[in-house]
Amino acid sequence: MTAETTKQPTPAAPAPAPSDLSTAADRPDVKMSARDVHVHYGDTHAIKGVTMNVNAREVTALIGPSGCGKSTFLRCFNRMNDTVASARVDGEILLDTQDIHAPEIDVVQLRARVGMVFQKPNPFPKSIYDNVAYGPRIHGLVRNRADLDEVVETSLQKAGLWDEVSDRLEVPGTSLSGGQQQRLCIARAIAVNPEVILMDEPCSALDPIATARIEELIEDLRQRYAIVVVTHSMQQAARISQRTAFFHLGHLVEYGETGALFTSPQQEKTKDYITGRYG
């Protein structure tokens, strides 16, 4: 099945534009790249031969109707699909120039390098401080308490939360508001100093004001990290991303510059979706 799909891209998913097919090694600003990735959940073929790059210092948005495989594809980048017993991932995914499925790659380290933020804010039931310090502690990134304090402070600053919580680092992370919790989760991901940040509908559980704050934050973070965002809101994708990938039924239908994709989609499917013909 996998082989077949690789050889003959189905009509619904025409090959992406040639520029996007060039590998990560060729171009310096490519941070991660997926080549002919297939994901199966048991008998469900959730991702069907997707090939695309993620550029450094850019926000890449994944859009598409519900169940099209956005989250599944996102979770390939930090091998979170390993935690699902029934999931099987085929194809190659490169971080810089290294295949993340290579045996010498340790998944624990990979996940430290490719951070993740989830749809529902999920702070640990610990203090704000411990939430942020959790990653550096388990990875042994700091020598002493002072260093740790510093890491926690910078991470919270980068996540734009420092001013709001600096005086109550010891309260439980769960006592913050939804938007604050989500920023805490971002700070937590930043604290281990990742190279890529994956975000799966980071705003869908938040109110409009909190959403706006996170969107601003994403814009800030883009300066340092490669960011991949799944969103169900086309408006949001248009607002925050430089590149957008449109998925449909597990296929990557279209991938390109965000502006171009929304104004002049190449594919009929994309167009129908953008104009609200379905979904």
């Binding site: 340790d106 624990v108 380290q109 430290a112 390098r113 388990i138 990875h139 042994g140 990134l141 700091v142 020598r143 002072a146 260093d147 740790l148 510093e150 890491v151 910078t154 281990v192 100093n193 190279e195 340092r224």
Partner: protein, 438 residues
């Protein structure tokens, strides 16, 4: 973390990446994975320990029980005296009564004495130690009742062996209670083919007895059955109705809160307290008969009720609200919604809970001790108000008897109880798996 001078935090802030492949980091990773494996091993060890406990428990009991289902018999030529039921015509009630009343034990003893020609008092005592006198009497009585022509003739009959002889036949080294002479006699029986150990069907048919050869769990099984019938008849409807009321009808207020807390607490009240309740309410206040299955059943019903209610509520909760909405949206009344849709959907869950509750009740001992179900009862109970005992209590009573034969009987009784319980639990698990997936 290559060198000490290199401050990781500053590196961190500078935007420099941690050196994931430094030797220190590799070592650290290796240590972390080791910790992971150890933790996992500890979990596996705990689970294995639990499994081993079960294996040990069941294995040990099965081992103990292996002899409990068997009974040794000796073949003897018995001279049935001519004066049995003199003057009665066979088949008349008088004949039966006379046969019943005849001192068969001495007849059995005479037969032994004839075979070995022992005469001294000590010898006779030893001889008598070979057969179960109560068992022999029962066998002789039955033989003569079946075939009255035996009277005045000699008959060759299999008679149950005594408890030490039985032990000897089952395990010749373990039996220490026999004198050398007795062992010699037994060996002669065995050599003549007059000794056999066979499956003891009686064990499942009779009640308690002072004679291990006659003691059975039939009475206790029937007692348990009668008791559980009462429990089921009371606890199931009340439990189901209560669950329905609380889950589907009750307004959310203090009173229903109170009922709910109450039921949760009742589920954790020690069973012996229910025994105290039964003693005080059913026996002392209502003057119901002591040791009766109806009282035991009612007491156990009160104890099982919370289990049924709680599982019933869980089953009702598991019925998706969308079904209720759908029916309500079509104009069904609340009662119709419950009876037509919710209850059928919840029934498997409720049955599961009920079976588990019944299994609990079947294994319960302590409350029944309080209401006098620990008496020496020979007859198999025939009604809900007759004195009876139940399986676990019978096991408890046998467990405290000193004779070795009762130890095997205890284990055999436990095996029977466990088979009942495991099948009930298996049924519950099956029901749950069957309907949970839907």
């Amino acid at each position: 973390m290559a060198s000490a001078s290199d401050r990781p935090a500053s590196r961190h802030r500078d935007g420099g990446r941690a050196q994931w492949h430094s030797p220190a980091m590799t070592r650290r990773i290796r240590r972390r994975y080791l910790g992971d494996r150890l933790f996992r091993a500890a979990g596996l060890a705990a689970l294995t320990a639990a499994g081993l406990f079960l294996l040990l428990l069941v294995g040990n009991i099965a081992w103990q029980a292996r002899t409990g289902f068997f009974q040794t018999e000796l073949r003897l030529e018995v001279a049935i005296p001519a004066d049995v039921a003199a003057g009665e015509t066979p088949g008349s009630p008088g004949f039966g009564a006379a046969v019943d009343a005849y001192p068969w034990r001495s007849v059995a003893l005479s037969a032994l004495r004839e075979r070995f020609g022992a005469d001294s008092r000590g010898d006779l005592a030893s001889l008598r130690g070979l057969i179960s006198r109560g068992g022999a009497a029962v066998a002789l009585r039955a033989a003569v009742r079946d075939d009255p022509t035996l009277i005045g003739r000699r008959a060759t009959l299999w008679l149950p062996a005594s408890e030490p002889a039985d032990q000897w036949a089952k395990d010749r080294d373990a039996a220490t209670a026999l004198s050398e002479r007795q062992v010699g006699w037994l060996e002669s029986f065995a050599a003549a083919g007059d000794l056999k150990t066979h499956f003891n069907g009686r064990f499942f048919a009779t009640g308690n007895s002072r004679d291990p050869a006659l003691a059975g769990i039939g009475g206790a099984v029937i007692g348990s059955f009668l008791t559980l019938l009462v429990t089921l008849a009371v606890a199931f409807p009340i439990g189901v109705f209560t669950a329905i009321y609380l889950e589907e009808f009750a307004p959310q207020n203090r009173i229903t809160d109170f009922i709910e807390v109450n039921i949760n607490n009742l589920a954790a009240v020690p069973s012996i307290v229910f025994g105290l309740l039964g003693l005080q309410v059913f026996l002392n206040t209502f003057g119901m008969p002591r040791s009766a299955p109806v009282v035991g059943g009612l007491t156990l019903a009160l104890m099982t009720l919370p289990t049924i209610i709680i599982s019933g509520r869980a089953a009702l909760k598991a019925v998706p609200n969308s079904i209720r909405d759908a029916a309500l949206g079509l104009g069904a009344s609340r009662t119709q919604v419950v009876l037509h849709h919710v209850l059928p959907a919840a029934m498997p869950g409720m049955l599961t809970g009920t079976i588990i509750g019944m299994a609990q009740a079947l294994g319960e001992t302590a409350p029944l001790l309080m209401i006098g179900m620990v008496a020496f009862i020979v007859e198999v109970p025939a009604s809900f108000t007759e004195a009876a005992t139940v399986l676990p209590v019978q096991i408890y009573m046998w467990a405290e008897l000193p004779e070795a034969a009762y130890r095997a009987k205890t284990a055999a009784g436990i095996s029977v109880l466990l088979i009942f319980l495991i099948s009930m639990n298996a049924l519950a698990v099956y029901l749950r798996n069957r309907f949970e997936t839907k």
